[in-house]
Amino acid sequence: MTDYSADSILVLLDVTPSGALSKSAAGLLGAAAEVGTPVALIVAAAGEGEQQAQDAAALGATHVIVAEHAAAGTELTVPGADALAAAAELVRPDAILVSNSIEGREIAARYAARSRSGLAVDAVGVARDAEGVVARHSVYGGAYNVDSAVTWGAPVITVREGSIDARAEAKPASIERLEVAASGRKAAVTGALEEEVVASSRPDLRGAAKVVSGGRGLGSEDKFVLVDQLADVLGAAVGASRAAVDAGYVPQSHQVGQTGVSVSPQLYIALGISGAIQHRAGMQTAKTIVAINKDGDAPIFEIADFGIVGDLFTVVPQLIAALEARKA
């Protein structure tokens, strides 16, 4: 039996379909290390999970629990919740951190309901005060900062992907296997995953350091290519306003805003986007905002650090040429 530190933070790490740790792992372990001793939990089928456990140690997990569940990979949400319950029983952590991914937050949801733990979702940071671990939130599109705590016990906190900059130091691998008995809770059965075809080597919108977004002002699916071109010159991800998505210029997965992805990049460039509140709610926490729009009264200019009133079809090609000239 391992002795777990009194200040242990249990961190559930997502594993991608190809078997790697999800990109959120580094931030989750980084956040955990700031408030306690990170203990990673990986849910795997019997005999699997060794490589992910090594990787988790390299990202700062002091200890790694590989939870083996017979239904891992065939049942939805329940195996993860069962594993979390078993690991929490073992570790008795001060807090449980889970990625706010779709899979992660639903596992957190089931576990919190089962254990009647306090649940805080979509945190952008964690801290510790005299009473325990506190979750930091940014709500209503970043208009407010809210701190939340729980009335007793270990809080279950889901952490927004890409929101944590802190990283933990690599640790020697200390890995333990835990056989999890199925709770018998009824679960949906999952079929094969069809992986999203990634169109290019562009970064993911979530967690991207730079984002170039296009709106209705692009005018058509064909002309939206201009957004892609600027994104590629800058090494940025491609986003879009809801208007551009509704008009069919780009798939819904690119939508930035209240109903869509929330981003907080270093640089956000809005092309032909008027800046409706719905859109601003998903991007106004960006460090630097640049807007190009024909309409000088567009609300996007109220929050832009650098705004250009002009035709994006002349300004953007000139910008691309100027950036390429500097690179050369």
């Binding site: 089931r110 309901a113 733990s117 649940l119 109220e302 929050i303 650098f306 002009g310 100027a322 500097r326």
Partner: protein
Amino acid sequence: MKIVVLVKEVPDTYGDRKLDLQTGLADRAASETVLDEISERALEVALAYADSHADTEVVVLSMSPESAAATVRKGLAMGAAAAVQVVDEALLGADLGLTAEVLAAALRRIGFDLVIAGNQSTDGSGGVLPAMIAEHLDVPNATSLNSVEIADAEVRGERATDHGTMQVTASMPAVISITEALPDARFPNFKGIMAAKKKPFETLSLADLDIDAETTEASRSIVISLGEKPPRTAGTKIVDEGDAGERLAEYLVQNRLA
């Protein structure tokens, strides 16, 4: 088949939304309220099924302040057969845990074969309640569905995951949640609005559900501090005089952004 659709009243996202800095609660008076669009889509899934399956009863369920009754009634005008609203002073500021317990208790009382919810509300956007409710009710959660196929004893659909899509199947009773990929909802017509006035509308209190909001048996999430961020201010704004692209390139380079 009895389908219960979870509906929520939310601040209209086309207006400014505010938190009350004294109480930490949503300032409901500060903005127009509407039936959440994703709730309407969830209801549309149920109504579309009912259109082609005569033996289907669609009920809308909401936990909300009394003032939301008119919004819940819109569900009746759209075509639901009955509405249930859980209203109780003690639910003011309820966290996710209490909300899930209350909705699960109401669902047990109403009875259901299928519960349909939106995947995420536009205000709280937690995305966890359907799974929490499924846990309380010990039924499967088939959540985040881009498509829904309701059969006699099971519900199937394409689930949007973080890495792609997958088919999921759940035997009923079950809780499902749907994404924006499902169709827009129908508009209530005049006939529906008139008919809604005669449809059953039940209001339940926590006592009716035998729930004590103050119990210390469950840990609750509470707000311990709240601050409003200063609004962003506009920086430089130029009108293109033929060199705006060049000037922007220079700005990006100077700020180490390119």
